[in-house]
Structure formats: C-alpha cells, structure tokens
Symmetry: C2
Subunit: 127 residues, 2 copies
C-alpha cells in the first residue's frame, strides 16, 4: 500500500471539511480564510474573511448539497497546496448542476488556510 503524499492528505482533508461546512453551516466558513484571502465567485471578486463570508451567506438558496466527482492536489514551489475540484451540486430543488472550484492553501502559523478560492458553475454558452 502506497501512502498518500502529505499534500494530498492535506488537500483532500481540506476539501472534505470545506464542503461539509458549506452544506451544513456555510456562515462558519470564515475560519478557513484570512484577511488577504481572495474569492472569485462566478466572476465576482471578494477579498477578506468578512467580505467572503458575507457573499457566501447571501447566496440565494437555503439548502445545498455538493457531490465531488474528482479532486486533484499539487505542491507548489512556495510550499502551498493547489487543489482543483470537479463536482455537481443541487441548490434547494433546482436541477443538478456541474461546478468547479480551485483553492490555494497556505500554512500560516501552523494552520492551513485558504488564500485563494475560485468557483464557477459549469455553464457554457453555445453561442
């Protein structure tokens, strides 16, 4: 049995924690961000713990469930961890939609925090 590299263990633990909190009490996600963290949510940019949590709290659904299809993790040259998630979600009783999200995790004062977060629904324009 091959042990998972450390960055994969950290990345997949983060991803599991993130979606568990998002689906049950997303107002508590502030703990994973710092004041310089950036969130880009469907193209809109937010910076800092407060602005990010305000955005997440304001999302117009009361219940949501994420299902992860694939997740990848890599170490970066600056000792961070880059994670990319592909999945599906269901918000309230809307149809199931695809999504993708990327996170950059950094170790600050012995804790892993999310410094960069990007989210997009998988919507394509067949223009």
């Amino acid at each position: 049995m091959v042990d998972q590299p450390l960055w994969e263990q950290i990345g997949s633990s983060f991803v599991q924690h993130y979606y568990a909190v998002f689906d049950s009490e997303r107002e508590n996600l502030g703990a994973i961000y710092i004041d310089s963290s950036c969130l880009t949510w469907e193209g809109q940019q937010y910076q800092g713990k407060t602005a990010i949590v305000d955005k997440l709290k304001s999302l117009p659904f009361s219940k949501i469930a994420h299902n992860i299809t694939a997740q990848d993790h890599q170490p970066t040259p600056d000792c961070c961890i880059l994670s990319m998630v592909v999945g599906q979600l269901r918000a309230d009783d809307d149809p199931i939609m695809g999504f993708h999200q990327s996170f950059l995790l950094k170790n600050i004062n012995d804790a892993w925090v999310c410094t960069n977060d990007m989210f997009r629904l998988a919507i394509h324009n067949f223009g």
Copy 2:
C-alpha cells in the same frame, strides 16, 4: 474605462497563448514549464518540462480546438497568479466536451512560467 489589474492581464495573456499553442503545435508548450513544474492530467501526475511535454505529445488525437467559456485570475500571497479556465474542446471528430484547467504562474528571472497545471474533462459519474 477601468484598467485591468496586472495579474488579470498576465493571466489572460498566458491563457490565450497556452491554448493557441496547444491547438496548433502542442509539442512546443515546453517553453512555459520549468523542471519543477507539476502537471496533473485526468488524475495522472507528471513532473518536469520533459515529462509534461511527452505526455501532451502522446495524447491520442491529431487535432484539437479549445473554446474558453470563462477564465478567472487572482494574485496569490507569494506573488504568483492563480488562473482557472472553464471551457469546451473538440478532439478530432469526437463530440464536444467540457473541461476545466487550473494554472499557477510564477515570475522567475523576469519571465512568467507555469509551475502547476491541472486538467480535467467535465465527466460526472451519475452512480
């Protein structure tokens, strides 16, 4: 008119260049990677310019066209640029498929290189 932030200009120039080269002469993509660069392609990991280019060259199609649906860019705390792309591609005469790709760009010796690259087709298991 609001100027784009520098990281957006750099990120979007990189993305435009990457897919233009990928679609016309992907064996030349080695120039954007360094020896510590990581590629995760559909869950398979490759490290270094040579291994990455060998993988890209071995992909089993002779022509490909990417179409970008959305791209997001963020500055990171270590002065890198994180980019996430959502799009569609057509390989040879296969059906059009969704994909997503994340890049981490770092400035080394006055040039922007790609240190981290993750690619996934948008395939979900409705298990």
